[in-house]
Symmetry: C2
Subunit: 227 residues, 2 copies
DNA sequence: CGGCATCCATTTTGATACTG
DNA sequence: CAGTATCAAAATGGATGCCG
């Protein structure tokens, strides 16, 4: 919030003063998987006009959460990237995502937009650090027409937009198949078995992939009983 | 958001549809330390009018995140409490708080309101689970005219408004002293030594208290370099 | 493509007055 | 207390049009 501060000496309130306005956390979600151009951001965020997007980006720049960069050749086009402070909002965004996976997902509504990148960030939200001890591998995901990769190194994970340089394994599937995984209609292993998804690369890496991500058991928000 | 949904099939966006409106996450922050009455909530949230507070509470009820309760005798007055789904927003709120402690706190501004309860939630944000292995203790904090207690049980912590039933240790200090701890002017141990804070109770519990909370090293948001 | 400026209809909010 | 009713101010969204 700009003018409209909560005016509380409280860490949560101060954070929400900076990133609590409409669209801001979703903008950060977009940038968490790597730098994005103005038009890419607008394309991902239906309903956000150029004026408001411009204002939000300026705000993030002014507050030191993002900065303008020039993409390396051959792109050479302006883009926005998170600063260190901005990147560190990752855990907060992922915590909101984890809650949503458990309590708010259900079926996709007819009007809802979907981008594979959101789901890949969801992978990061479901990442089980314990299951990745001793593992060092790069997985490339090709979902619909987007590609993402996850770099896993002994309990840490990094997910970035775009193809990987030297993936140990590559997993390919359609948007719909990926949606089915989120909705827990089937597991990745099942999708591969039925031919809905294709996996190739290092056998050991593919084998360990099975246990790396753990979706929370969905809870029902309609009553207050423990899940 | 009510009418104004992001309309994205994304866990983060769906969560923000539910709790991303102005005041909502702060309302949840208040309820994370126990049930609160309508007027208490309003008193904690300067600037939130009765109309909007009423609307927000109705929304939380409708979405199954909070419910109306009747406080046990002798109070017997209506109050609002979080459901299981609401309580599970705790990690997300604490993640925002942790970020704020590191990147957004600095000095208290003249106009900012402050309540000890926020700081005690901050304690929970700083809780170091590893440092609490094998510890089982209840600490009562009396800060200014408010009291809170933290129940620690082997790596888990629960912080609630109000005095504890059987505290193992009690720590008393003024608001200003507590503010000094947050601003890292001094540590709790130093405050006790200088007489600004008073501690009593089980010696072992008091000794272990020292290592339980770990404030993040403040970062500077004005540039993008690592802290 | 990458933005900023402007205009306008609609929502959201903030503040206050008022009722059981 | 615990809210409801009301109204003015601000934020949003959508549609442009403009410029490098």
């Amino acid at each position: 919030m700009d003018q409209r501060t909560y005016d509380q000496y409280c860490a949560t309130a101060r954070t929400l003063d900076l990133v609590g306005e409409r669209w801001t956390l979703l903008l950060i979600r977009e940038l968490l998987t790597g730098p994005k151009r103005f038009s890419d951001l607008q394309a991902s965020l239906r309903g956000l006009g150029t004026g408001l997007l411009s204002a939000r980006l300026k705000h993030l720049e002014h507050e030191g959460l993002a900065h303008k960069v020039t993409l390396p050749p051959p792109a050479r086009t302006p883009a926005y990237a998170l600063t260190e402070a901005g990147k560190e909002l990752g855990p907060a965004v992922l915590a909101l995502a984890r809650w949503g996976l458990k309590w708010a997902m259900g079926e996709r509504r007819a009007t809802e937009t979907f981008h594979a990148g959101w789901a890949v960030l969801g992978l990061r939200a479901c990442f089980d650090a314990d299951a990745a001890t001793g593992l060092r591998a790069v997985y490339e995901f090709r979902i619909g027409d987007e590609s993402f990769h996850a770099r896993i190194d002994d309990g840490t994970i990094e997910t970035l937009h775009g193809p990987a340089q030297h993936p140990d394994a590559t997993i390919t599937m359609a948007d719909e198949t990926f949606l089915g995984l989120t909705a827990q209609h089937q597991t990745l292993a099942q999708a591969i078995e039925t031919g809905a998804a294709f996996a190739s690369g290092d056998a050991e890496a593919l084998h360990r992939l099975r246990g790396l991500f753990r979706l929370p058991a969905p809870g029902s928000r309609t009553d207050g009983s423990p899940a």
